[in-house]
Symmetry: C2
Subunit: 460 residues, 2 copies
């Protein structure tokens, strides 16, 4: 009788059962628990509604840090703290473009991050169209003096986002190339795959010695319209872009953890900042919410005794200013946290479901990765033979020797929304978001409660 | 030998064959010819690229009339002429809305046509949300003094567009109801079914005695965001809307025809004007292009002798100012053209394929409609038991006694784009547009070369 009573009690109160010590079994347990809750959706809803856009160095980005620190604490993370670092502060201004002629047409466009400005009254100039960046590079020096360069290059959807990797130099490098050839301004077709008439911003870079020129992205429909107009004859535009550099500003990381029993760290997170046009729901409140939601599921399981305290500390970071200065958040994290990062996984590719597992770990860790793949398979995730890419915010940790996996999210529609006003909460599919949380929770635990050496090189 | 040679010659040169006199056989011939060409796409491309937006009473609307008259003439229509009429001239101004608080958020919205204006510096007011128009109507008189009314009512997709018919009083009548209760301004969730973060405009009406208040539509994502913010606590907005009434202006119809052998008229067309945000590609350059493209296919067949001159004149009208003043274009047409309109069919529901044939004709004409349905069936069009609706521009002719059919286009995605900046050429599927041209060409000929009395009532 007593044995039966005990067994019944254990079924009714699983928290009193012995903690699950095997990392693979623990990963499966967390996968299933994560599928049964939706804390990530609450996080992304709160951040994008209560704070909204979170441009690097802006007041709302600072408020988002406080919001996130409170959220991490409320969700059971330990040692929550904020690390600040200096970044340039840039602000969007007026942005309009109108064709000059008997039927003036307004073209919808948006300044690229760190674009130069036109005079407040704007400038009038002729448009010179190029098919791609190579065609622009081939233009003779000085041949573009006083012209508005326009690159009308199409980007198609790709599940793995590779079309963005292939073509984003049109945005990041194109304006400086045009400036060096004397152009008055630079326009390009947004790096976008959707049909909506909304332009997509993003950072552009002017090397030292190149004076920034006004640079903007046209929405896809407007780029097509401008190309049709250019095909009919010379086009002259009135362009007004009045962004401003506001001098040095402050960004920062928010860091919390589930403290492990040993010295090593498993690093995860997403970035807290966003572009200013949307509310940064898919880029990257979702990534923060997925990794924090996963960490919360783990914290709950540890707190109730379903899982033991992990061997390695799981450190969750909501990184600052990924969009503009890129590596600064990750580098700042490492500077303030000298504990060895043995494994890292980042979330910065939207809110859609994870479809592929890629890894870059020590050869001896391959059987462990295969075991993880079996835990993730019921989520519809297939292992890939391709190496993991990592990501901007964990790049410094990976360069420092950490093993890494990509839980690759489906990016088929990511660039429909990315960096545009359309990056808003309503675009998120809650079921897909929850699937991603389950994948991250399983993966973090599998790495954190493990003795496997993931680092591909000699210890650093 | 000679008979064979003649037969071979007739096959090789069908234009020399005797004209097809049976109206149903002629309709089938035109259906197939229309499927083999794409003149409608060229028309909509030219109009939306060379002219662009065509707001009633604007300079581009006047240029569009000249463009259209030249196009009709070039495509072989006879007696091409322009009828002008007076309309109010209204112009959009600045339009911004920002939440007031620690994290100001910009909401994307657009003034409704004929909206009142805020002061140039804007106004600050608290938001009062209502679920629907009935809830607003139930608010006590004076209870909304100084408030911004916000109706957050969802509209779902419907193939026949009926959800717009059901809910558009939220836009047309809501602002005046709010004004009568003392509201400072009026906002509503766009009458839109798509996810894009673009607001949808449209006309609103203030009866005599009601002073116009600022009235605008929020994009769907912004309406959802505002509703979430209201749920968190009181929301105060800074609203700037500076549209202007410019006094009386001029709009007009462009009229052309294929002259018939008898006195009666078959009337068709779409509207030339558009809202100012997009280029009016689906609303309604497509309708003009479909009906003009259909007329052009008929004109070609008559010119080459494949078809005889029709018994009834096919009159094609590109109507002015449908969007704001509605019936004026149709009434002006009738005033200037006293010939009896025995049949009418309009195109003002986008660029998608025709899926349904509805009719409202004399009972004795039912067999003729059944014959038309057989001609249209290979295009995937099914006859409907519902009566035809007609449309704004042919309403006066239908009220005057004309028989009418609807070649109902698929409206599932029409309100994703309608009245928004997203109403652009790239949204048009050329194959669907061509299918619609084929349906209109067949229908116009079937009605025009017929002796059937379509008019449902006693002769007018």
């Amino acid at each position: 009788m007593r044995a039966i009573a005990t067994a019944v009690l254990m079924m009714a109160m699983p928290a009193l059962a012995a903690p699950v010590r095997d990392p693979v079994a623990g990963a499966a347990l967390l996968r299933d628990r994560a599928l049964a809750e939706n804390s990530a959706l609450a996080i992304v809803t709160g951040l994008t509604t209560e704070i909204g856009p979170r441009l690097a160095a802006s007041v709302p980005e600072a408020h988002a840090r406080d919001w996130m620190a409170a959220e991490m604490t409320a969700l059971g993370l330990a040692k929550v703290h904020i690390q600040t670092f200096a970044v340039p502060h840039w602000e969007r201004g007026v942005e309009t473009a109108t064709t000059i002629g008997p039927n003036p047409q307004r073209l919808m466009l948006t300044a690229l991050g760190y674009s130069g400005a036109t005079p407040d009254a704007g400038l009038d100039a002729d448009v010179v169209q190029f098919a791609d960046l190579d065609a622009l590079k081939a233009a003779p020096a000085g041949s573009l003096a006083g012209k508005i360069v326009f690159i009308d290059h199409e980007m198609r959807r790709a599940q793995d986002g590779s079309s963005y990797g292939a073509f984003n130099a049109i945005r990041t490098a194109g304006p400086a190339i045009a400036a060096d050839k004397g152009a008055a301004a630079y326009l390009h077709r947004s790096l976008a795959t959707g049909p909506a008439r909304l332009p997509h911003t993003g950072v552009t870079r002017f090397p030292d010695g190149t004076k920034p020129i006004p640079a903007a992205a046209l929405s896809v429909p407007d780029a097509k319209q401008l190309a049709r107009l250019v095909a009919l004859g010379p086009v002259r535009l009135h362009l007004v872009l009045t962004p401003r550099d506001l001098g040095p500003g402050t960004s920062g990381n928010v860091v919390g953890e589930i403290t492990g029993t040993g010295p090593d760290v498993v690093l995860t997170g997403g970035h807290l900042d966003s572009w200013d046009l949307g509310t940064g729901a898919i880029d990257d409140a979702s990534g923060v919410a997925i990794t924090l939601g996963a960490t919360k599921v783990i914290a709950d399981a540890v707190k109730t005794g379903a899982l033991p305290r992990p061997k390695r500390t799981i450190r969750m970071v909501a990184f600052g200013d990924e969009e503009a200065q890129g590596p600064l958040g990750g580098a700042t994290y490492l500077k303030g946290h000298p504990e060895p990062v043995v494994f890292a996984v980042e979330a910065d590719f939207g809110a859609d479901r994870v479809w592929s597992l890629r890894s870059r770990v020590a050869p001896a860790a391959a059987p462990a990765v295969a075991a993880l793949a079996r835990v993730l398979a019921p989520l519809g995730i297939a292992p890939s033979p391709l190496p993991a890419f990592g990501g901007e915010d964990i790049a410094a940790a990976v360069q420092g020797g950490a093993g890494v996996v990509d839980l690759a999210q489906d990016g088929t529609h990511y660039f429909d929304l990315h960096h545009s006003a359309d990056d808003t909460l309503d675009k998120i599919d809650p079921q897909a978001l929850t699937q991603a949380v389950a994948a991250y929770a399983a993966t973090l635990w599998w790495a954190a409660n493990s003795d496997v050496e993931f680092r591909p090189g000699p210890p650093h």
